[in-house]
Amino acid sequence: MPNVTAIALIPLLPLAGFLLLGLFGRKYLKNSSGLIGTVLLLASTILALYTAYEYFFVYGNVGGVYQKFVPLQLTWLEFSPGVSIDMGLIIDPISVMMLVVVTFISLMVHIYSLGYLKGEERFPTYFSYLGLFTFSMLGLVLASNIFQIYIFWELVGVSSFLLIGYYYDKPSAVAACKKAFIVTRFADLGFLIGILILSFSGGTLDFSTLIERLTSPESNAFKTAAASTFLGASALTWGAALVFIGGAGKSAMFPLHIWLPDAMEGPTPVSALIHAATMVVAGVYLVARLFPIFSITVPGVLEIIGWVGAISAIIAAIIACTQTDIKRVLAYSTMSQIGYMMFALGVSNYGGEAGLGYTASMFHLFTHAMFKALLFLGAGAVIHYVHSNDMKDMGGLRKLLPITHITFLIACLAIAGVPPFAGFFSKEEILLAAFQNNMAIYYIALITSGITAFYMFRLYFNIFWNKPHHAHGENKSEGGFVMMLPLILLAISAAAAGFIPFGEFVSSDGRLLESHFHLSFSIAPVALAVVGIFTALWLYKKENDKPAKFASSMGGAYKAAYNKFYIDEVYLFITKKVLFNLIGRPAAWFDKNVVDGLMNLIGTITEYISEGIKKIQSGRVQQYAIYFLGGVIFLAALFIYLLK
């Protein structure tokens, strides 16, 4: 049986770190803060690994099926009998897997940050934010209740907001964090309404009950939900679709991805943690969590998911080829890889062999976390060295940054899907799943993997080869042990993670799913990857004008891609022009002039009248007498004629 205290401690330790450093860090723990945070996280990492071991090898598997445990569930807020927000811990394959990923990556980032942000003014604040983020992410992962996941969802959002805006005096950073928060918030609106619909039709907020009620065709909850339709789609479909919008927002799926590239304004380790490995895959995790419901909705929300994922994957890949800011390149590649995971879910089905996509998606999530974190941290090391994000300031660094160079190369090979690195296996399964279900998506994926290889190596060559580096005077080392250790560890896992028989642990229905390889199948993608790599080699190995020519030959297409297909501009138009000028300004004006004006008008009218009637008081006794008589006559007439 799961060990509640151990599991509960996993998120609580980072929380403790957050409180400790947040309250006292600034004054008392200025120097020790980094260490405290790291140690606490180390502890929870160990706990997570322990939990994972226990679950997968001791108690988790009952009769060949990985069970779903809810060892702890406290009522937090009861809306009405049966419908309540519970704070619980859920233990099942994906949550345990995520526990490991989150804690491990977070630990790496903590260690790395010790070096990366050394001598920072707000060192404690930074680590407290990291703690907050890790806590909320773990809470999200462990959520046993759909509203609980929403709560931590929001918390994750705000901690990412804080971390992106860590350099709060940089206007671009402020803009970026606002953008990130608002865009995801907009998506969360969908999520919220989705929750309302699902919980109302399910009559509960608890995941297990909800899924059970909404997926068993004979339960009346399912019947009513399926029966009550709006705009041709059943309540169930609407709920699932809206929930997915939330997920798409967090996972930067097209067209809600615009915040992700800007989010790179944050410190690089943060990007590695939040915007590569953990938070951005929350959307995938959410869909996986509610997968049974998604898988039975008609018309299939899964199809939407699949297409959204595929489109995001390819668009992001194309844009990535044109960017020169290395972090932005990585950001788009992240988006593209998450696209993979999404459509992998989209092409999957619930249960058995058909559930391959699900497993593949989770697998890719796992490996991607490793190598993408590695890439970011490597990029961080580079940036730390050259003090710039831009490719043109780099080149020929392989001598100066040997370790970074090697690890980065491994990561590139991994993401490019070159065997035997991790990316190869996971991507392989995804392609297989797509191949089995949806050819169109399969081809898109195939092309994308080629492009992926190309832009990753474009990046690699531009950083480490190309023009020789003009070392500007100082000749410092590449960041020291604390920064190199994470790189190495991650490199190892990025290289080795692929050999984990993932299907045995994680599958849509908890049953074993052995993944079998057909070499014939994997020829195409690998070949494409190699082609991509060699194109990159040919274009960028030496400094030359081929890329420029190439770009100009593409003409408009290149320009469009370079400008991210002008999606930002569209958003800008909607917000600035429509929201502010067409709604906000009129509303403010209306309030100031019409509503307020009415109130003042009443006053003015009163005074006007009182000015108008002042003549009555003429100051002449005789006039007064006339009014007197008038009154008398009026009364007499009234009572004698009218009221008789």
Partner: protein, 465 residues
């Protein structure tokens, strides 16, 4: 014989004081200060005496009639007179004809007493004139001020005119019913046209004295023209007395015509409140301002009166008690300021708080009480008036009444704003308050704050009516 003394005791006391003053006048006379304090003492005695050996009964064949309620009303009036003598002592000290002033004021008071307890149209008419003519003379007491004499002229002429109308009405009623006694008239009434005509003429006179729109036009001019003491007397004492007798007239004498006068009261109430408020909004002179505000207050009194039941009587009497305190407090402040600085405009009050916080708080209390805002007693007074008016449950009427409270609040706030908030480089200087004035103001403030919370007062009045 003995009964004669107990029943008419207040009248007798007043008469005694009047004669005493006469002798003093005829005799070698007294210094103003000592005379003033003497009179204040006497008035206090008169007020206290009012509480003892009260009996219910009537004299001279129903011509004079008194009850504990009437006694209570008389006490309110004598309290009011006492307060005036305190609050205006600055001005009184300066007048060279102090005894005459008090003789006039007290004979007017005597007239009101008789009027309240009159049981016969003849006595009513006589006492009404007794209550009016001296006041006209008082209004002219600032002999050298043009405005004073103008105000007095307007008052005497218009009141003479109104009494002419009144008499015509009385003569008609006499012609129809053949009797003048309040007790006998109701039996004779059958609502014939001529009766209504007579009734309307009669009511017109009441309306004139109560300054109900459109019979109110003399009010503001007279108030502005006459000295503050007289204005206070007019706005509180004579209004109160007329209101009391008006109730008796409507509820007792013209009871058979209730549906007629209910209608009339509603109309009166509405236009009086509205016109009074609208005029008050744009007044600059504080006395004139208070004149119109008191007109509006009369409108509220009418709302209460329209109920036509005991609750109405109680509400009106209760309100007038509170109104005495509130209005006299306001007038008291106006009086000291006018007397010591000669300033009577609201704009002159700007920045008053800097120099005279005490006066300002009193003023604020008084005005909030007039506006009917808790914790002041005015809140209760107004609320009960409206409650009484609501017994007939005609919503529009009540809503109009309630909405008028907004306008009135608006102009009361104008004064408070001037006193508390507005900047002024040359505010009114520090004002020295004599013992008497201070005492008067404190009594008023106490009344404003406590009468509302001492709910037994209301219940007591209710038990009387």
């Amino acid at each position: 014989m003995n009964e004669f003394f107990t029943l008419m005791k207040s009248e007798l006391v007043i008469t005694a004081i009047i004669f005493l003053l006469l002798f003093i006048k005829i005799g070698k006379g007294m210094k103003n200060d000592s005379l003033l304090s003497l009179v204040q003492a006497l008035l206090l005695i008169n007020f206290i005496v009012g509480f003892f050996f009260n009996k219910e009964g009537n004299l001279f064949g129903d011509m004079f009639y008194t009850s504990s309620l009437i006694v209570f009303q008389k006490n309110i009036l004598s309290l009011g007179v006492y307060l005036i003598s305190l609050l205006c002592s600055d001005w009184l000290k300066k007048t060279e004809h102090l005894p005459e002033f008090f003789i006039l004021m007290l004979s007017a008071l005597l007239g009101m007493f008789l009027m309240i307890s009159s049981g016969n149209l003849l006595i009513f008419y006589l006492s009404l004139e007794l209550a009016t003519i001296p006041v006209a003379a008082m209004a002219n007491f600032d002999l050298h001020k043009k405005r004073s004499s103008e105000g007095a002229m307007k008052m005497i002429l218009s009141s003479a005119f109104s009494s002419g109308i009144l008499l015509f009405g009385i003569s008609l009623i006499y012609g129809i019913t053949g009797t003048l006694s309040f007790a006998a008239i109701p039996g004779q009434l059958d609502g014939s046209t001529l009766q209504i005509l007579g009734f309307v003429f009669l009511v017109a006179a009441f309306a004139f004295k109560l300054s109900i729109v459109p019979f109110h036009l003399w009010t503001a001019d007279v108030y502005e023209g006459s000295p503050v003491a007289v204005t206070a007397f007019l706005s509180v004492i004579s209004k109160g007395s007329i209101a009391f007798i008006f109730i008796t007239a409507l509820y007792k004498v013209f009871a058979p015509m209730q549906d007629v006068w209910y209608m009339m009261l509603v109309i009166f109430a509405i236009i009086t409140m509205v016109i009074g408020n609208l005029f008050a909004i744009r007044q600059q002179n504080i006395k004139r301002f208070l004149a119109f505000s008191s007109i509006a207050q009369v409108g509220f009194i009418l709302v209460g009166m329209s109920s036509g039941s005991n609750i109405g009587i109680t509400a009106v009497v209760y309100f007038i008690l509170i109104y005495t305190f509130s209005n006299l407090a306001a007038f008291g402040v106006a009086a000291v300021i006018a007397e010591q600085t000669g300033k009577e405009n609201i704009d002159d009050y700007k920045g008053l708080y800097k120099t005279n916080p005490f006066l300002c708080w009193i003023l604020a209390l008084a005005l909030f009480s007039l506006a009917g805002i808790p914790p002041t007693a005015g809140f209760f007074g107004k609320l009960f008036l409206i409650t009484a008016g609501a017994t007939k449950a005609s919503f529009t009427f009540i809503i109009i009444a309630a909405l008028n409270m907004i306008i009135s609040l608006y102009y009361y706030l104008r004064v408070i704003r001037a006193a508390f908030m507005d900047k002024n480089e040359s505010p009114i200087g520090k004002i020295k308050l004599g013992i008497a004035v201070k005492l008067g103001l404190i009594i008023c403030a106490a009344g404003i704050l406590l009468v509302g919370l001492f709910s037994w007062i209301y219940d007591y009045i209710n038990s009387l009516s």
